[in-house]
């Protein structure tokens, strides 16, 4: 038997996406402080991409100059495209490789992230794949809450959804696509505030497969202040409701994903009122024991979080961050309440993309 067949194949040998087949798009508006780290992280990959396109979306802080100094291609639309989706789709026309990856301008990757993510494209039905996401900085209460929220989601929710071949969302901050399929659906649409969810559901409706690859890790900068967090949560909550309204009829043809979305939508409709109104009233006027309801699902959250954290050698950080998760969840409920009320009751769509990391 040849010696080579006895060796376990390395990630390089397994990877389907070769370096010369991948273009990376980085949408950037006033990201001079962080885009350099993102580009360096891409250049340091074990399989660096053939081309890196930075879309300098009419920044005023020298983002384009920072990117150009690192030797990548900088595209600059005549006017601001108005959204991350617009900037990414603008760059898509310039892509000449079989695969394309989108990464936020504040995100860095593990050095083998691209290689690892590329493995799942061995399946010709896979058109999109995303990796694990964790905040790069974890110090404020919002960052700690987000850290736990991501660990919970990426340790339990997404792996389960992946087994069924239907992840709820291929994260916009770090995802890879087949260029042809992405072009066929018109790229990233700005018709909702959550272009990554829109794209994921569009692919699923068309019968394509979307994968989640936990071994490929990315590290975006998450909102450290409430102001930035508010902008992000407003976009996400409105984006979810907008996507449900846009896709519900199409999703009915997608088993499992339709169940995940239905339960998520029920939660979105019911949980804000229950959490922010009914439970506090019960606790105040019926029995103080009802305060316990806010943390009664601690084991359900803590177990996957601590398992995920232990794998990464971050057990202590996760343990300390757990209380912040419950604070963040209340804030999530508040913004979901606003989105449901605005989009469904008053029929006021959020259409302005406010950047907030």
């Amino acid at each position: 038997m040849p010696e080579t067949s006895l060796r376990p194949r390395s990630a390089v040998e397994r990877s389907v996406v070769r370096a010369d087949e991948l273009t990376v798009i980085i949408p950037a508006y006033n990201e001079a402080a962080s885009v350099g780290d993102t580009i360096r992280s891409l250049l340091d990959q074990t399989t660096p991409p053939r081309e890196i396109l930075v879309v300098d979306d009419c920044s005023t802080d020298g983002t384009g100059e920072v990117a150009a100094a690192l030797g990548v291609t900088v595209l600059r639309p005549e006017t601001n495209t108005g959204s991350k989706a617009g900037a990414q789709t603008y760059a898509l026309r310039h892509v000449r490789t079989d695969f394309v990856m989108a990464i936020d301008a504040d995100t860095v990757l593990d050095s083998d992230a691209i290689e690892t993510l590329g493995e799942v494209f061995a399946d010709p039905e896979v058109v999109a794949a995303s990796g694990h996401v964790l905040p790069r900085h974890v110090s404020t209460v919002w960052e700690r809450g987000r850290y736990v929220e991501y660990l919970y989601s990426f340790t339990f929710h997404k792996p389960v959804q992946d087994v069924f071949g239907r992840p709820l969302i291929s994260s916009g901050c770090f995802s890879m696509y087949r260029t042809d399929e992405l072009c066929a659906v018109g790229g990233w649409s700005d018709r909702t505030m959550a272009e990554d969810m829109d794209l994921t559901w569009t692919f699923s409706e068309r019968g394509h497969r979307v994968r989640f690859v936990p071994e490929a890790s990315s590290y975006p900068i998450e909102p450290a202040t409430f102001g930035f967090l508010a902008k992000q949560l407003r976009r996400w909550s409105h984006g979810f409701v907008q996507n449900v309204m846009l896709h519900w009829r199409g999703l009915l043809g997608v088993p499992y994903l339709r169940s995940v979305v239905a339960i998520g939508f029920f939660d979105a409709l019911v949980s804000p009122a229950l959490t922010l109104l009914v439970l506090p009233l019960l606790a105040l006027f019926v029995s103080s024991w009802f305060w316990l309801a806010f943390v009664i699902d601690l084991p359900m959250v803590a177990l996957p979080v601590l398992v995920g954290a232990r794998r990464r050698g971050e057990f202590g950080r996760a343990l300390v961050g757990l209380p912040a998760y419950f604070v963040l969840r209340l804030v999530n409920c508040w913004f979901m309440l606003g989105a449901v009320t605005s989009e469904l009751v008053f029929r006021r769509r959020l259409t302005t993309y406010e950047k907030g990391h």
Binding site: D20, P48, P49, E51, I52, G64, A67, G71, V72, T73, V74, L75, R76, E78, R93, H94, R96, V120, H157, P159, V160, D162, V163, T179, C183, G186, G187, S189, R191, W201, E205, R206, S237, R249, G250, L252, Y256, I263, G264, F266, D267, V270, P272, T275, L282, S287, W289, F290, L292, A293, F294, I296, D297, P299, M300, L303, P304, R329, N332, C333
Partner: protein, 140 residues
Amino acid sequence: MTAGVPGLGLSGLFLVASVLVMPLLRRRPGEVRPTRRRALVVLAVAIAAATWGTWALVAGAVGAGREGARAAGLGGTHAGVPALLVSIAIVALILAVTEILALVLRPRPTPTEPPITPIHRSGPTPGPNRPASGIPGAEG
């Protein structure tokens, strides 16, 4: 973002149920490794056990308190029905309604944006990370 109902844990419950039916799924080549599936099953069983234990603990604590009767809903029952059964019933109802809708209403594909034609797709092959020909402002 997570905005679930505290205590009901509908999404978590649905995921735990999903994991339990995993062994019935046909595995395709290149899909999730069996070891990862097993790890998810172990995790789901642990979550279910921990959740059950917590509810039992809270039920005991509430029952022992002076306000026990008034907080019975939190202590594990809603109008005499165990809270876990209430959650399971809600999840089952949502799933049933969704499946009925899928049967009754014909799924209609969501329209997409017009296809995009790449500018250079059939053009010459550039070198890796070609130098910044696109100086800010030059491509617009």
